[in-house]
């Protein structure tokens, strides 16, 4: 029987530290108030409006990402062309931008004096929330989708073409099913990011109940005056996000064993 190596002990210690560090603050949200108080604080039409708006706008952003992002990621994964690396970097930029910078950038682009004035179409409108969410969540989906397509076995795609299928058919019938677990994981990441978006939304779309005030904005508004309400909404967002992650993971696992 071999002794446990010192490295294994160190690694286990690091893991334990990390779990405690990442999980404790989340647990604290549920422990700070009794469940009864949390549920009571949700009896607030403003909070429910915010949750509902968050679900609608984040879902809309995800649908846009899947429809536009999937073929784009396919192209990036299967073709190499001049400026490919630069293009990928541009698409990944929102990943490293502070959300406030994303908000300023969207304003500089779409506001009345902006590069591409949109009048009253986006700024301070629900459509503007969707734009902000799509902007910040896009790289999460694109990266996952590109990686998923890149890992599809080339010989399947070649075989499909040899048998006379065009690129569209190969994409739809071979590439998407083969890349599905990765695509779904990308949806989960992008959706999670969209659900949590705060800074870009506040700067670009403002905060108005039922129109632009998403759940994170409602939490921020309550922070100063209604801490229990802020905790309750936070708890709901945690449960939603965790459910999203779990659903996706179990779905991907099922696909993997199919």
């Amino acid at each position: 029987m071999s002794a446990v190596s010192p490295f294994r002990v160190v690694a286990a210690g690091a893991l334990a530290l990390l779990v405690a560090f990442l999980a404790l603050p989340v647990v604290a949200i549920f422990v700070e108030q009794s469940p009864g108080e949390l549920i009571g604080a949700l009896d607030d039409p403003g909070a429910l409006d915010a949750l509902w708006l968050s679900l609608q706008t984040s879902l809309a952003a995800v649908v846009i990402l899947v429809v536009v992002g999937t073929p784009a990621a396919w192209l990036l994964a299967t073709r190499r062309f001049r400026g490919h690396a630069l293009l990928v970097t541009v698409l990944e930029l929102p990943l490293v931008l502070p959300p406030a910078v994303a908000g300023i950038a969207l304003l500089a682009c779409f506001s009345a004096d902006g590069l591409l004035p949109t009048g009253n179409l986006l700024v301070l409108q629900t459509a503007g929330v969707i734009v902000a969410l799509t902007f910040v969540a896009a790289p999460f989906y694109l990266r996952a989708a590109q990686a998923a397509f890149e890992s599809v076995d080339r010989s399947w795609l070649d075989a499909s073409r040899t048998l006379g299928a065009g690129e569209a058919r190969t994409f739809a019938r071979i590439a998407i099913p083969a890349a599905l677990p990765g695509l779904i994981a990308g949806v989960a990441l992008g959706w999670g990011r969209a659900l949590g978006e705060f800074g870009a939304t506040l700067m670009f779309a403002g905060s108005f109940r039922g129109i632009t005030q998403t759940a994170p904005l409602a939490i921020y508004e309550r922070f100063g005056t209604d801490f229990t309400g802020a905790l309750a909404l936070s708890a709901v967002l945690i449960v939603l996000s965790a459910a999203l992650l779990l659903t996706v993971k179990s779905g991907v696992a099922r696909l993997g064993t199919r």
């Binding site: 304003l107 009345a112 403002g206 905060s207 109940r209 939490i219 508004e221 309550r222 922070f223 801490f227």
Partner: protein, 249 residues
């Protein structure tokens, strides 16, 4: 969740860790940590820079947010907020003082003539930004609106497009012309570097806006903290506050 935990963490980080008794060492100036309403930024930066009795570390945020941070134990010695009533919720404090007043105005983008009087706010199609009713600027705005006849109040309410968490948010939305007008403090327009113009609200409609100061009891530099607050009403403090568009109480 992100907002409040991050906010508190950032506040604590930006206020810095205390020198754990390092002040007792000879020749070391104590450092005061002052949490102040965002609308005091330009006045306070000037006043604190010239304050001789201690180094001053300023942290700006919305008044409600600051109060919540102070109540939850953030390292703050002096709290300056845009509503003296808030100080009751800041935890254990010494006597509070009112050190400045401000006025509520309608801010419009410089050169714009969509809105020329508060009466224009109720015109259909005018877009208005206000503070959230959970912030001091929003509560003052609410008092102004409540002083109007009901139909006018309802018409303005219909024109409000965003309820920002603080006055700075309202200023931002007017500056980028996302709205035609916003209701903010007079000092916000003074310090906007010419980007905004102020339309006064008639005296009988405008609520009195007062800034309250308090020294937190847990401070380890009570003398310097009290001197900092007292100095706000002295010559240097008054001059800095007036340059930023604030008034003597």
């Amino acid at each position: 969740m992100r907002a409040n935990k991050l906010g508190a963490a950032l506040a604590i980080a930006s206020l810095g860790l205390t020198g754990c008794g390092g002040d007792a060492l000879e020749g070391k100036r104590p450092e005061l940590r002052v949490g102040a309403a965002t609308s005091l930024k330009s006045a306070l930066t000037e006043y604190a820079g010239a304050f001789g009795q201690a180094g001053v570390r300023l942290s700006f945020a919305g008044s409600d947010e600051l109060t919540a941070q102070a109540a939850s134990g953030a390292p703050i010695d002096v709290l300056l907020v845009a509503d003296p009533g808030l100080l009751d919720r800041a935890g254990a404090i010494e006597a509070r003082t009112v050190f400045a007043t401000n006025a509520l105005v309608i801010a419009v983008p410089a050169g714009s003539d969509e809105v020329r009087s508060y009466r224009d706010l109720s015109r259909p199609g005018i877009r208005v930004a206000s503070g959230s009713q959970r912030s001091p600027i929003g509560r003052y705005t609410r008092r102004f609106l409540d002083a109007l006849p009901a139909p006018e109040r309802a018409a303005i309410a219909r024109n409000i497009r965003t309820e920002e968490p603080d006055a700075a948010g309202v200023v931002g939305k007017v500056t980028v012309k996302a709205v035609d007008a916003g209701i903010v403090y007079a000092s916000d327009v003074t310090t906007s570097q010419g980007r905004l113009e102020a339309i006064p609200i008639p005296g009988d409609l405008g609520p009195g806006v007062a800034y309250g100061a308090a020294v937190l009891r847990r401070t380890s530099h009570p003398d310097e903290a009290r001197a900092f607050v007292a100095g706000l009403r002295g010559q240097a403090g008054t001059a800095a506050l007036q340059r930023a568009g604030l008034q003597r109480p």
